[in-house]
Symmetry: C2
Subunit: 120 residues, 2 copies
DNA sequence: TCGATCGTATAGTAAACACTCAACATACCG
DNA sequence: CGGTATGTTGAGTGTTTACTATACGATCGA
């Protein structure tokens, strides 16, 4: 599946090579210089901006949130959401820490259900 | 209550003055230069680092997460938590967007309950 | 062997971030 | 008037972020 525990750069390189795209071509596709991409892929440079990471995710058919997380970044729309209810979100997140993916999914569904009810 | 819709700087200034602490004394207390604090309080400079914001929150008896949110920042421990389950958290957060504080609180309690069960 | 293509090394940069310091004006206190 | 406290101004600094351009060596196909 899409998950592994390696670095951002190594992951991008692996996925790009799996798609048989050259570094120059890929760099052009996502709007960055080949040299920069080269260093990023070898983790010599930090991951690029959110915008570029989104472009990379799109080009590789990956989930943007996941690739952003691998880059140590948080999607800006999620940051915005949290800022609207900082205390409640903080409480929730600290409570959710340690839950399994399945449990998290259940809570997400619950939230979705609540939202739908509200919308009625 | 602790919430209002004004800027980070204005809020700090208001709370500091309410506590009758001088700028220089307060600056010393939170470990920054008076000049810098002055500019920050008038929103001439961006809010300071997470560390200083925490010190300010402590000195003012405010919730750190809330003050961080006002500064447009996210507590680093929360960012860490999200990164452990990026997909599920993204799904949850986008679903939770638009829920009321009360509903959020219910979900936080649910999460807490789930965690306790796990720990058994 | 020519040249096209591959990735890489080196160097540099513009802008933002997170601050500090010295000096100043203003006002009040004794 | 002298001293002390207030907040403010302007200028400057080191560091990090997010990149780019030029040039180089290796490889591979015709």
């Amino acid at each position: 599946m899409s998950n592994d525990n390696s670095s951002f750069g190594a992951t991008v390189r692996r996925l790009r090579e799996a798609k048989k795209i050259g570094l120059r071509k890929f760099a052009k596709e996502v709007g960055m210089s080949p040299t920069y991409l080269s260093k990023v892929e070898r983790d010599e440079f930090n991951p690029p901006s959110e915008e570029k990471i989104r472009a990379i995710a799109a080009a590789l058919g990956q989930d943007a949130d996941e690739l952003l997380a691998l880059a140590g970044r948080l999607s800006s729309d999620l940051a915005d959401i949290i800022q609207r209810h900082p205390r409640e979100m903080a409480t929730f997140l600290r409570a959710a820490n340690g839950l399994s993916a399945e449990e998290m999914q259940r809570l997400a569904e619950e939230a979705q259900r609540l939202k739908k009810e509200d919308g009625t």
